[in-house]
Subunit: 154 residues, 2 copies
DNA sequence: CCAATCAGGACCCAACCGGTCCTGTTACGG
DNA sequence: CCGTAACAGGACCGGTTGGGTCCTGATTGG
């Protein structure tokens, strides 16, 4: 249940990687192929995710040669809710949440008419309280952290 | 995002209807066709949902002639989380939550290894705090409440 | 004994998601 | 000034999964 798309998962991975950018290294931006190599996520998918994130302003992009992506804000200022909303669309568990009044065919007797709203709100709040920084800190013991290498393909 | 299946929505509708059972009327159980007629949800779908709910013990069933379904517990004792878990399976946002260690192909560098757990837990808690009774009370002004009639089909 | 109703499958269709690719457009660097 | 590297933003296609229907038992009341 509550299946959120794999793309969202990738988005988190990519953004965390974006934050782990070489401390004071050459460029302050990272390219799609670079991130793909570092994370193991297929390159086209990385590009797609990055483009989506850039469209919503979660990351900023630098076009042209020597271009790349960069975090718009530090990890601890980015709630998971924003990432999810950016990739998967707005937080909404069921089809008839608010906007679409024309949806319900049996509108007269639909007993949940907007009833999921408190649930949505509760989840929204829960998700807004967790930032990407929290996700980086938590879980995974440091011993499992890999420095980021490996060409991913073959 | 966070798309939960339409079946879950139906489940809530059906269970609320099950609770709105005629106060002290003829049978204390309701049949699938009856609920379908009252809610507008297609009858086979209602039957399917009811069977699933019965399998998880959220509703009890009476077989044979004059049989039907009945709530196992009052609405205010049933958190939405239980309904969701019953219909849509366990609460898990991403594929690699805990059990499956063989999932991650690029296991060595998967940077979110179990990182969604706190998020899952937060949602789980949020969902456990809301009961079906809350959903019935909230939203929808009483003026929109319909007594339940209409054969649904034509 | 018959009819009504639940039980539990199998099954099919459609929508959506994941993933790839292609064609601009921008800007750095020589 | 030109070539190249990288983002932008589509279109597109295939696989998976959920939504929905139906059929065949099993059970119980009249």
């Amino acid at each position: 249940m509550l299946r959120l798309s794999k793309l969202t998962d990738y988005a988190v991975v990519v953004m965390v990687r974006l934050a782990e950018v070489s401390p004071g290294s050459n460029p302050d931006v990272q390219t799609s192929p670079g991130i793909a190599a570092a994370t193991g996520v297929p390159e086209p998918t990385v590009a797609k995710v990055l483009k989506t994130l850039a469209a919503t302003g979660l990351v900023t992009s630098q076009r042209g040669a020597r271009g790349g992506y960069r975090l718009a804000r530090p990890l601890h200022e980015i709630p998971v809710a924003e990432v999810i909303a950016a990739v998967d669309g707005p937080i909404a568990l069921v089809a008839c949440v608010d906007g679409s009044a024309t949806e319900c065919e049996s509108q007269g007797l639909c007993p949940v008419r907007g009833r999921w709203d408190p649930v949505n709100d509760a989840i929204e709040r829960a998700l807004s309280g967790i930032t990407l920084a929290d996700m980086r800190e938590a879980a995974v013991p440091p011993m499992f952290r890999v420095p980021a290498f490996l060409p991913a393909a073959e």
